[in-house]
Symmetry: C3
Subunit: 341 residues, 3 copies
């Protein structure tokens, strides 16, 4: 899509410095961008790149002064740039309608302008909201609901009685509603506990590729509004994740744990079951969280401790060889003292 | 399904305290249960909840006395409750028979009452046992065998010559029989070693979602009777897992390692190749197991050590700042002594 | 396939000791091999097994002398054995041609002798090179390219505009080209950054099962020639992996990080974003790499440090209880000295 710089500035609420009539038809990073492309800088330290960029225009913060290239000044350049990306290169929707090879059971309720791709399978009583895109090879189980304006990428598996709200994006290979991992040991064997609960996913959630979210034993596993989940994350039965939390790749959350609002779990962190992570807490990468974390607390390490304490402990461990040396020296001086006494 | 309390008590071998004629048609947790539902308590500390529950009946251990709500006394309340779940809410089987869109090669041997879902693909010479359910979009490779009463959820991939016994459950997205990760470095490049072995999975195994179990280089990768595997677990080529072992989410087991019987590997643990984990051993969450573990041993930590030692080391690390302080103080006292000598 | 020992020796460039006319039709490990099978030993310590093996022939290194069983002497026995595996048990290709249930969009460009399996879906403008095998239930997105002689196993998902070169193998459940994990926090919510870049995978790469490789935000995520990736690995947007590097199972690499040539990342290691791992570096299992690693350096630990330092620190931590004891003893001796002064 082609737009004038003026049009773009209006759409993102920015102020033009330079020629607003130039035409923009693409986006790129500041080093790669060329003629007809717009780019951005979000950090003052990249200002010198404004002198050398080949881009036709640059989105900058308000304090950036006139330079040789046309600018759009905004409050948050990266946010504005991401809006421009969405305008110039819109998500390419597959054609509306149901592919002839899709298998849609009787009683399925499809909204308006729904797209269902080749070889998708939708079971009895499922409901799909308006404008939602179901890509090829997706499975949606009996009685499940997917809301409006969702994007369900190829090969996603949604089992029975899962509830997904609106504007949810689910990437390929992700499994929603598989059985929780529950067994009772009895006479040396593991006896399966039926997992008859549900999964509920609220509005504006995005879930990466090859994620697993298990259904609850009873009740529900619950991902609240605006949560963002990266690839290969494991969310066990009866976990609750609060609004706007961010869960980075390969994190594992054990059963019945509650994650608060606005929490960040960095990559490969693990959280044991039946604990609470308070609102706004940050869990460091690879941290092993063995007990509840208070709100707005940063924890890291193995086992996870408040980050300041974890850093202090790490520093004292690093200085251990020198402590050993000092103690050996003190021992000698004591021996000297003992001899000369 | 609806049953009287008396019928339920008979089915689970329990003793009724109160009115056995009431009708039960659902199950729930003790806080959520309402009229017509049965619940349980498995821990004495939850006894006060018996006073406030809205459930129509509660399964309890033998020592719980009469209360205002009808009870079923049993030896193991959670086990009995899970049996009741299975009775009242049976696994909803898809209709028997082969969906018209499934692609089944010539020479495939299907047992009685088999269900094969939409768009499933079953290759030459595969055999599927009686009552087994193959959900939609499953792939079963040439010459593979799935036994009786198995449940293979949507989008499972089973490659060629895999042997799966009876009452096995495999959740969605799981890959069985992919090539092991074997290369020979030669003149700066990695040369692939063909992986021509098999995978053998015995009776009563359950495998979670998005698990990977590689085929052996030669011989077999072998998951023995009753093993339970959680989501996103990696099992490398030629691994053997002994009977009734439990492998929690995101664990990784490297090539040719042998896991004994009744072993527990907690979440995100990693085990190097070519070692043995003894029968009944327990490996803590996130532990890095670098050498063999004797039977009935608990190990934890990075690297994994006997749990008691790991806890002692962890405690001494925590006290390091105070040790530094003490040593500094001792140094001063020695200097004092040296001066005054 | 059946071959004489002489034929095999010629094909792998080895020298026969014993009867070259015997016929070989299978391969096995030295303990399992029987009549008609060839095996190998690559380590001198296994020499005694030559006395007891039931194999009809053994591939050995040049220094192994005549024994009772026919030998082929070569420079690298395991490499030669893997060549023999490939000769005697060739990868069983599915029949060429397009299965009638595959959905191939208009304008798709299929090379010669391509195989496309049942229920595969190939979108507009995709190109598939000669001899490439697309197994059943694979999805290939719009405008993507797969080169010659590739093997794409069942249920692989390749999204739009992905470029895959020749002789690439991708195992089941792997997702290539899902959106990178990019958001801008603004007024308490996470705003998605469109991910409009590509993924480029060069010649001779092999990718395990259930791996995730995200597309770049802008530009490309880039896996260079000869890289080998194990199962359940996460590769984030804009990562570059250099030639011939090896990435073991469950490793995670964060956004924009550059991995050099010939690097080894052992199992479950994690690498933060925006750093460089130098050529030939080795990262230990479960290591947490928080800063750039120089070329040819071995790092391990949490956080990762040069391996020698990590081992020294680990050793000093192990000796902590004895240090505490020594310091307590020194304290007493100081008290003695102070008293007697």
């Amino acid at each position: 899509m082609k737009k004038s710089l003026k049009e773009i500035a209006e759409l993102i609420g920015g102020k033009i410095v330079g020629d607003g009539n130039i035409e923009i038809e693409g986006v790129a990073g500041i080093k790669e961008a060329g003629k007809g492309e717009i780019t951005f800088i979000s950090d003052i330290k990249h200002l010198p790149l404004l002198e050398t960029t080949q881009a036709s225009a640059v989105i900058v913060s308000r304090e950036v002064k006139e330079v040789k290239v046309p600018l759009i000044q905004v409050e948050n350049p990266y946010l504005a740039f991401s809006q421009v990306m969405r305008i110039l290169i819109p998500h390419e929707k597959p054609a509306e309608g149901i592919h002839s090879s899709a298998i849609i059971a009787e009683g399925v309720d499809l909204g308006k302008k729904v797209s269902v791709g080749a070889h998708a399978v939708i079971k009895e009583k499922a409901r799909i909201g308006d404008n939602t895109i179901i890509y090829p090879l997706v499975y949606i189980g009996k009685g499940s609901r997917v809301g409006k304006d969702c994007i369900i990428y190829p090969q996603v598996m949604i089992r029975e009685r899962v509830e997904i709200a609106s504007r949810v994006i689910i990437h390929s290979g992700t499994v929603i509603g598989s059985d929780g991992f529950g067994y009772i040991p009895h006479e040396g064997r593991q006896h399966k506990v039926p997992q008859i609960g549900r999964v509920v996913i609220e509005d504006d959630v995005e879930i990466g590729a090859n994620v697993t979210i298990d259904r609850a034993t009873l009740g529900k596993t619950w991902i609240k509004r605006g949560v963002k989940i990266d690839n290969l994350v494991q969310i066990a039965h009866n976990v609750v994740v609060g609004e706007d939390s961010v869960i980075v790749a390969q994190v594992g959350i054990s059963g019945s744990t509650g994650i608060g609002k606005g929490v960040t779990l960095a990559g490969q962190a693990g959280v044991v079951g039946h604990i609470k992570i308070g609102n706004g807490a940050i869990v460091g990468g690879k941290a092993a969280v063995l007990k509840s974390v208070p709100p707005k607390t940063i924890v890291s390490g193995y086992p996870a401790r408040p980050h300041v304490q974890a850093k202090r402990i790490e520093a004292s461990v690093l200085r251990l060889p020198e402590l050993y040396k000092l103690v050996r020296e003190l021992k000698k001086r004591i021996e000297e003292l003992e001899k000369k006494r």
